[in-house]
Symmetry: C2
């Protein structure tokens, strides 16, 4: 966890910081800032939410004579433009930022509504969607997360620097992008995968139940995010519709040419085989671009597969052994059979600690396969 280290390395962002909206992200920002000793003011249209966030230690309620140095707008995307514009008027010297997941439309509307472009620096902390609601707020939520920051051409350097420092004080890693770059990036790595997953899962209903019954881990992985909240994703996809449609252009074109190649193969024309192979190889190359820890490609890790007995406590015994061997797990995966975890566990470690771990596991009679 680098948050305390980051706090020690750099000065915390200057307060008071006003957080408007005390949901999951807003309350977590408050808790993280309080952890660093920053004075946090809270505001919410819902008095009960405000009270709960205060009791959880996310900050104190905003009062009439408070003068925030920085305002963090953490309200739903459709309310964010008006709240940013209002905050700009009410706090005429404060730096302004937000946390919405699509940036171009929100910031353009905020400017139209009167927000000051010199002080407005949009943001998007890339926190997981796995928990939601203010009850899930935690001071560690943003630790080690990327936090995209989208300065405008008019944004003054001191305001950009202050939003960067906000991210760092919360334990996150700031990354600057333009509004359009941010929206194109999330279209590529998040919104288009969601559409593809939903479409793929949606096809299953057209086939016999017996077909779906033989599904393995590949289909499970490909359709996991199709189970996501439809309302939330409808908001996101319609807010970033143009960028997502652009990425889908390429996906559809590649699928169509692959399909044509498969039809050629089925018709006995060997031409198609080269195209099928090119698609598979391009996929391998693209997958390897996704960064692992510290930006290292995940393929640099050694995979150690362990067959564990299917009885209570065996997972505990395995991970205890890893801990005792003082080996850091970079990743781990558990294979699924018939919808439940099977006895095959894949551990990913740095190459230089692989032999040590294998030896330690074998000494404890684990069935190690690699």
């Amino acid at each position: 966890m680098s948050a305390d280290a980051a706090g020690a390395r750099r000065e915390a962002v200057e307060g008071p910081v006003l957080v408007i909206g005390t949901g999951l992200i807003g309350a977590s920002v408050g808790l993280a800032l309080r952890r660093a000793g920053v004075d946090v003011l809270l505001s919410d249209v819902d008095d009960e939410n405000l009270r709960l966030a205060g009791e959880a230690g996310a900050g104190r309620a905003l009062e009439g004579d408070d003068v925030p140095v920085l305002v963090v707008v953490a309200v739903p995307p459709r309310n964010a433009p008006a709240v940013l514009a209002e905050a700009s008027r009410r706090h005429p010297a404060a730096t302004l930022t937000d946390v919405t997941s699509v940036k171009e439309g929100v910031i353009a509307e905020a400017l139209s509504a009167g927000a000051d472009p010199r002080r407005l620096v949009g943001g998007h902390p890339m926190a997981g969607r796995e928990v939601s609601g203010s009850a899930g707020a935690r001071k560690e939520l943003l630790d080690d997360r990327l936090w995209v920051i989208t300065p405008l051409a008019e944004s003054e350097p001191e305001h950009v620097a202050r939003v960067r420092r906000l991210a760092e004080t919360c334990g996150a890693v700031p990354v600057e992008m333009s509004l359009a770059e941010h929206d194109a990036a999330v279209a590529l790595v998040s919104h288009t995968p969601q559409v593809v997953s939903s479409v793929l899962a949606g096809r299953l209903a057209d086939y016999e139940t017996a077909y779906v019954r033989i599904a393995g881990q590949g289909l499970r992985d490909m359709t996991r995010i199709a189970a996501s909240n439809a309302d939330l994703w409808w908001d996101i996809l319609t807010a970033n519709a143009g960028q997502v449609a652009d990425v889908l252009d390429g996906v559809i074109a590649d699928l169509a040419s692959t399909q044509a190649a498969l039809r050629a193969v089925a018709a006995g024309e060997a031409d198609g085989e080269g195209q099928v192979r090119r698609v598979l190889e391009a996929g391998r190359a693209g997958q390897a671009l996704i960064p692992g820890k510290h930006g290292a490609p995940t393929t640099d890790f050694r995979e150690i597969t362990v067959q564990i007995a299917d009885k209570p406590g065996e997972l505990g015994r395995l991970f205890s052994a890893v801990g005792v061997a003082q080996v850091n797990l970079e990743d781990l995966r558990i294979e699924h059979v018939l919808g439940r975890p099977s006895g095959l566990v894949a551990l990913y470690v740095q190459p230089d600690s692989a032999d040590r771990l294998i030896e330690a596991l074998q000494a404890l009679s684990f069935d190690v396969r690699s």
Copy 2:
């Protein structure tokens, strides 16, 4: 593990069983049959492979006067038809089966080459691809796996029954399908997801590295299988090209209509919004069709999220606690941040054991979130 239970419930398949090809599947079938006390004969064009499989306990080398009751052809798909036909001639009373992952072409070719349709009952054990090579062979490899069995119209009942018993003796669960149904089913749940994953991952190379850097767990899941072996998948996809192209028809059509809807939204036409919502909702419904343990939908499990401290041994302490509480994990997932596992672990359990587990974890001061 239901293998021993299955062995106790039913009589093992009658031997001797001849396994031709001692790779991962062939050698694992041999080991599983030996576990049940069945006489196993082995044959392989490679003497060294044969010797190693014999030493591992998968069976004894076939000799001239052996008369197998059942022949399991476990050679690569392109050799399977000729080997099935040859086995049909050499062992004129034996039941014949294979283990190849695409069935219609292989079985049709075997029949053309002279295999006896009354004794030929194709098969496909749905074993993981996570390990490969004969060194990965294990007697438990097929435990609790589905094993698709594809009888022909001409197949005589005793031969179908014997192949079912083979699957059960190996610890697997037999499922009957026609050749075309099998190939359509694997096109839907395995081959098309592979194409979609490869195409999606292949798009990443067209964008800036900074975009890929902000990738989260969704993209990781969607592109994991894109890292699979290209040669292996080229073989599979070209062997099942027509069926995969048929499934891709529907995927491409749904993506194209979603894209058109997003373009409409981007152009300010509200019509598109309904279509986007329908796709998301169809995806949720389709995803829920994928069966969990004992056929129960995975959504029936309770999810318990635990924030663990990022220090060695914490995973071990967590899973030990689960073991001590005598709670069965139905599934588990570890969230990834910046390419490494974060401190968020999601445990999936039967609803009636959730409260007990939460209490046990809280008593040990774990930060439980649900």
